[in-house]
Symmetry: C2
Subunit: 315 residues, 2 copies
């Protein structure tokens, strides 16, 4: 439960106030070892809650989820009754702290409903089994497969939290491997630096919905023996050039990952890359995936407009 | 003195780390009454420190400061050896918590040196003598005078902190009074809401260089008997339309006024106004006026580029 002072209540929506009041702070005390068995349990618990919401979104949007496999990497194609299968497509990388979540996550479903674009959402191996750089290569393989399928239709890559970090690393790898790049990137509350650096990991500890220290412990399962500041792990440290696709990012003042958005904005600016950051007053990590929350709806709307602006010219 | 954790040290410049380590937190305990005599003392102390820096900037930039008066409101015209007196001009509203500072402030001097545009910096009556809405009208009178003088050359209005709040209120008043508007606005760490609302006034209390609670107590001297949420006092609450000039804002993650930038960005976005916010990792209220600090130099550079982009087409 988050207690808000009047100064903090006024600028946010009544729905946001209510949600913040209802949140239970998510933490794993440092003395509790994060074993594979423990991870499996968190994953199951999380998914049980999400299943209900995801099925609701599928019903509301009359969505169809079709299993797909590209270059040996599986995922889902998500479409609705109005899906335009001649225009741009979205390749989505789900969030969940590297250890949980599935291709059917809320953001993928909401994107399919709200954009009427087909969403190809990748199923990547979760940590501790799935680690960098193998996961990045697998998502790149999936992306290459979608690209081969859709030809010259523009591809937008979207990601949430951990998935945004993977998506940005995939684009840096694609550039290195001379794979054609997406037309635009949508990075919600992106985990672009999982080394722990950033002011917001400190000042938003205990202000966000979950602990930054916990998130870093979970990220270590994905980092494995890699250097936490290696670009394939923390793409914020990659060399960014004008080749990087136009990028939309979102975050909020309570987000433990806020600093990622600011620091990456600086790098994109220096490289001359078109970019937009929507930073919402009082919003928490992952707020953007709330189906009805006004601040979330506005943020997704801005993201979808960004897609439109950066795929229209090319198609 | 601000203690930084390694996570907070890495993303900022060595100069910023050193400055943060040297800062003495500015506060006035709530039991100390803020009398006019007390305000006069703060003002003198503050100005003694600033005088040295301002004279250094004047010498370095070979600047000339010439007293001017428009419609009974005085100020300074600041020019340098390279000043272009045929292009755009800047009307500057200084900062200083409504109670201190002068037209010769650093930002005005740095703008003159770094843009080679003439800067008309207004001398407005300080609180508690100077209060809203009279101060807003006086700055508007000064602006109108500059406008009459320079004819159709584009005017950019810049402000810092308290001065940004006044500048934005002036533009809203100018719109109401059908006075032609500036071509662009530059709002550094803007005090757009001095009612106390905003997440950052809470989470950056004790993280910024000075106390938000203190800033609000000082602002009350300026607010007087007005409603703190009246647009002429807190222009964030004004009705913003597409008529509002293209606006550049800057702030940092430690700034007690960060939320103003985010909330006003939302309003500008909703109104379809071109706007940019530079939000710097780890930076404090007013960081932008540090002559050499890399984060400040980059922020001002972005501001001056914004001026260029939004005055070129018109001239």
């Amino acid at each position: 439960m988050t207690k808000l002072q009047p100064a903090q209540r006024t600028p946010i929506s009544p729905a946001a106030r209510q949600m913040l009041a209802g949140f239970k702070y998510i933490n794993i005390p440092s003395f509790v070892p994060i074993t594979p068995r423990f991870v499996a349990r968190i994953r199951t618990q999380f998914q049980a809650g999400e299943d209900v919401i995801e099925e609701g979104l599928i019903a509301a949007g009359q969505l169809t989820t079709t299993p797909v496999t590209f270059n040996g990497v599986s995922g889902l194609k998500i479409t609705g009754p109005q899906t335009n299968d001649a225009g741009p497509v979205i390749v989505n990388v789900h969030g969940g702290g590297f250890i949980m979540g599935t291709a059917r996550e809320r953001t993928a479903l909401l994107a399919a409903t709200e954009t009427n674009l087909p969403v190809y959402s990748v199923t990547y191996p979760l940590a501790p089994e799935g680690q960098a750089p193998a996961v990045v290569q697998q998502v790149l393989d999936f992306y290459r497969g979608v690209r081969a399928l859709v030809g010259d239709r523009p591809i937008v890559m979207s990601g949430s939290s951990a998935g945004s970090g993977i998506a940005a690393a995939v684009v840096e790898q694609a550039h290195d491997q001379q794979v054609p790049l997406p037309a635009a990137m949508i990075l919600f509350c992106p985990a672009l630096d999982i080394s722990g650096n950033g002011d917001s990991a400190i000042f938003n500890e205990k202000r966000d919905v979950g602990s930054a220290k916990m998130a870093l412990r979970l990220a270590k399962l994905y980092i494995g023996d890699n250097d936490p500041c290696a670009p394939v792990v923390s793409p914020l440290y990659g060399e960014i050039g004008a080749w990087f696709p136009p990028t939309f990012m979102s975050t909020g003042t309570r987000d433990i990952m806020l600093s990622n958005v600011l620091r990456f904005s600086d790098k994109l600016q220096a490289a001359g890359v078109v970019h937009t950051a929507v930073i919402k007053e009082g919003m928490w990590h992952g707020f953007n995936w709330e189906p009805q929350l006004p601040e979330a709806v506005a943020t997704r709307q801005a993201a979808w407009q960004f897609i439109q602006a950066h795929t229209e010219a090319r198609h």
